[in-house]
């Protein structure tokens, strides 16, 4: 079974830990460079979005990321607790953020949708879950 799961705190430090974990995973599975690069950016965009907007203030939530590679499909699943938050459907609800900051959500999510083959959101058992896939042979 090629799946790996890592849990981290929903903060900048936690996010870079998750990014490093993905680095390790992709090297172990010898994924093509452009797939790794695309997935890194997509993962970073989503994680930044979640850390900024999806977490209750004052309550550092947890983010769990699992990677799985079933040739030729790479699958990344990001789960996080907190209030229901779908970064794919709604802009950053933080109205205190400047217009520019809020707009970044739009470009970031557009980028994620273009970099990955598929990205979907669902709310399961009190948790938020984002699932991304990318084929290595496309």
């Amino acid at each position: 079974m090629a799946a790996e799961t890592i849990t981290a705190e929903a903060s900048a430090a936690g996010v870079s830990g998750l990014a490093a974990a993905f680095d390790g995973f992709s090297r172990r599975h010898v994924l093509p460079a452009r797939v790794i690069e695309a997935s890194q950016v997509a993962l970073d965009e989503l994680l930044s979005n979640i850390v900024k907007a999806g977490v209750e203030p004052g309550n550092p939530a947890e983010i769990q990321v699992s990677f799985d590679f079933l040739d030729p499909v790479l699958e990344i699943v990001v789960s996080y607790n907190g209030a229901p938050f779908d970064p794919l459907a709604r802009k950053d609800p933080d109205t205190r953020a400047s217009l520019d900051d809020r707009a970044v959500g739009g470009l970031g999510i557009y980028l994620v949708k273009k970099l990955m083959d598929s990205v979907t959101y669902e709310r399961v058992g009190g948790e938020n879950r984002l699932r991304m896939t990318k084929r290595i042979d496309a």
């Binding site: 460079a33 690069e37 695309a38 970073d44 930044s48 707009a103 470009l107 970031g108 980028l111």
Partner: protein, 112 residues
């Protein structure tokens, strides 16, 4: 976290070379540095030492393009590494900029 941005004043214009990651942490710094040079008549940004660009970084480049245009200047990007090029292409940003493979070619294009 700080972003290093090298400057090289040439006859043909100003060359800026950011070094490192351009993400939500460092994009603010890039913004300050680049926008301060927005009035340059000919500006080239060399991306060969940029290992990563996120949407925050893309927005800074867009803002720079607008600033340069408003000042009747010209801007070109050059030497995009494959990972950065991929992000620019997929976001549709490559079409919005003058992109060349090297600083020399970029300055040549801006002078023509």
């Amino acid at each position: 976290m700080s972003l290093e941005i090298r400057e090289d004043r040439r006859e043909t214009g100003l060359l800026l070379s950011p070094v490192g990651r351009i993400d939500s942490n460092t994009s603010g710094e890039l913004e300050r540095a680049l926008l301060a040079k927005g009035a340059e008549p000919r500006l080239v940004v060399d991306l060969s030492d940029v290992e990563y660009v996120s949407s925050a970084g893309l927005r800074v480049f867009l803002m720079l393009a607008r600033k340069v245009k408003a000042a009747d200047g010209r801007l070109a990007l050059c030497a995009l590494p494959p990972s950065v090029r991929q992000v620019f292409d997929l976001a549709g940003f490559t079409a919005l900029f003058t992109v060349e493979s090297s600083p020399d070619q970029a300055f040549e294009r801006l002078s023509s």
